[in-house]
Symmetry: C2
Subunit: 337 residues, 2 copies
């Protein structure tokens, strides 16, 4: 075990697109766990759209990261020292932590990953920690899909979106995805079984939605907000549902972002638009993980990790999320486990 | 019984503010009821914000009124001839009809008003036909108020808003209303028991909301959309609800209306924004009317009708709704019953 640590610290609140000066990577001493805590070594760092929100001081669902503090992230690591009787040295833990090689695991923030049922740790962490339960609860709990309905999901080749479309198929729905390249569109239709895909960068989205959703849209699972939200609102069916998982199209905006022009469709079609984040479902995680693991074992759910090596590459890699350069779950690997 | 009829017909789809040429009042023959229909004479014509929607060809929840057709309205009248065995001459009927002295009542569109339990017909029609059930289902069913929560309602001196605030009080909530004059603000606090009122025309709405809602907003009952919606979204509490009943601020707009800037609060605070119209609750009307009539009898719910005489004044009177010139339920009286 080395004695120096690397920690990404927040230096500046981002304005507009992420720039290289918002975080700095510092060499520091390895911290000591206090009573009830553990120390763990990072294996994987999940990179998520919400990271950009935590860096900013916009209204948000948790306190933003303080200037000078370690950057917050969803992490998976191996315990090297424990003063928590529930956690042993060598345990794999995951949860909410920092962008750092070594870090303190606080009770309630990280938990043992537990038995992954034969699923490799990288897939279990990549799928079960955040994105799988996000897709599951957003679609199943808020979307309430019924067989025969049409589900549209944006960022469909992303980590959450790719799972949303597959769960929609499992539930007997028509699944339509929007993605930003022909390769992504091919991947979700040919590999993942979506019924249709729309390349939102090259196609006329309203016209393409009309073709892909001849019976209208019953559920729009929103990851992006913006123009795609507007186009979907316009084609929602009576009593449609819009689980709101992300608004990534506006996270890099520098000023106030206009809301959807077609907001009035909420009234006209009696839609239910509901925001959520997966932390709201903490007590129901086992339900989601059980369902997801079962579908994976049956071959009905395919997951893909987009893995980049090296903690030092975290900031550059994060930028890929906002330009649509990733396919599947984006993460940094420090060391496989 | 006279032999000529007066009928308001739609001549032009309104663009921007209502103008005098959108409808014309015609003298016509009195129609004859067909099998299963009745003929009734108008007593009261309800004037509602949604009238403007029906005149336009915007996306809406019913087909718009066709050009040349009689203007659609919520009506109350006395049956003068019946070919429907369930309806007798002399019955008071109410439901969906036309802006006309004499008109055909079709099965399923109008129904006998029935026993009003001692409540005058004008109040029973004014409160039970549309606005009372609208306030009731929007607040109780979608808002799910819990004692101690804070309910904000816009257009609070309007027909729906004034009832929403009083039901909020009955449910043990703090009731805060926005209205457009000091007189209206006094009326809702001093007469109706709202805890606080904000004159949105003279006060800084965000600052006034902060003062009036020291614990934030749990339910925003939206009648207006626009800037007031934005201000409320910004101060919503975690898991707040936004029953969306109307967006009157934008019905007279001539172009696309920007959506709420603070739409992202739906995600950040995990809000539920849900549109509804009272027709969605047709099968639960008795529940609402029972509750409303009970509260009226106990003196806990006060209603106010804003009555203007003369069918010929209908179009001029309707304009009052969009300038906030009415207090309470706006209607035309042709003849008391």
């Amino acid at each position: 075990m080395t004695t120096t640590n690397r920690v990404w610290r927040l230096r500046k609140r981002p304005v507009g697109e992420l720039t290289d000066d918002v975080l700095s990577l510092e060499e520091e001493a390895i911290p000591e766990p206090g009573e009830g805590e553990c120390l763990f070594r990072l294996n994987y760092l999940s990179l998520d759209p919400t990271n950009r929100i935590w860096m900013s001081d916009m209204d948000q669902y948790m306190p933003p990261v303080e200037l000078g503090a370690p950057m917050r992230g969803v992490v998976c690591g191996t315990v090297v020292k424990s003063r928590n009787p529930a956690i042993k040295e060598g345990d794999i833990v995951s949860g909410l932590g920092e962008w750092a090689d070594y870090q303190i695991g606080r009770a309630g923030f990280v938990n043992p990953l537990g038995d992954t049922g034969g699923v490799p740790v990288v897939d279990a962490f990549g799928t079960f920690a955040v994105v799988g339960p996000t897709a599951y609860f957003g679609l199943v709990d808020l979307g309430e899909p019924k067989a025969g309905e049409t589900v549209v999901v944006s960022a469909a080749a992303g980590a959450v979106g790719s799972i949303v479309g597959q769960i929609a198929k499992i539930k007997g729905c028509r699944a339509v995805g929007l993605a930003g390249s022909d390769d992504k569109c091919r991947w979700i239709t040919e590999e993942l079984g979506f019924d249709a895909a729309i390349n939102y960068k090259t196609e006329d989205v309203p016209a393409a939605l009309k073709r892909a959703c001849p019976d209208g849209i019953d559920i729009y699972f929103d990851n992006v907000g913006g123009d795609i939200l507007d186009a979907c609102l316009k084609q929602m069916n009576f009593k449609g549902r819009v689980p709101t998982c992300g608004l990534i199209s506006q996270y890099n905006a520098t000023g106030a972002v206009p809301g959807p022009k077609n907001y009035d469709m909420i009234l006209m079609q009696r839609l239910k638009v509901q925001g959520f984040i997966v932390l709201d479902y903490a007590d129901r995680y086992p339900e989601a993980i059980g369902a997801l693991a079962g579908w994976m074992a049956e071959g009905k759910l395919k997951v893909r990790q987009d893995v980049v090596d090296g903690l030092e590459n975290a900031l550059q890699t994060l930028k890929k999320l906002y330009t649509g350069a990733n396919t599947g779950k984006l993460m940094i690997r420090v060391e496989d486990v």
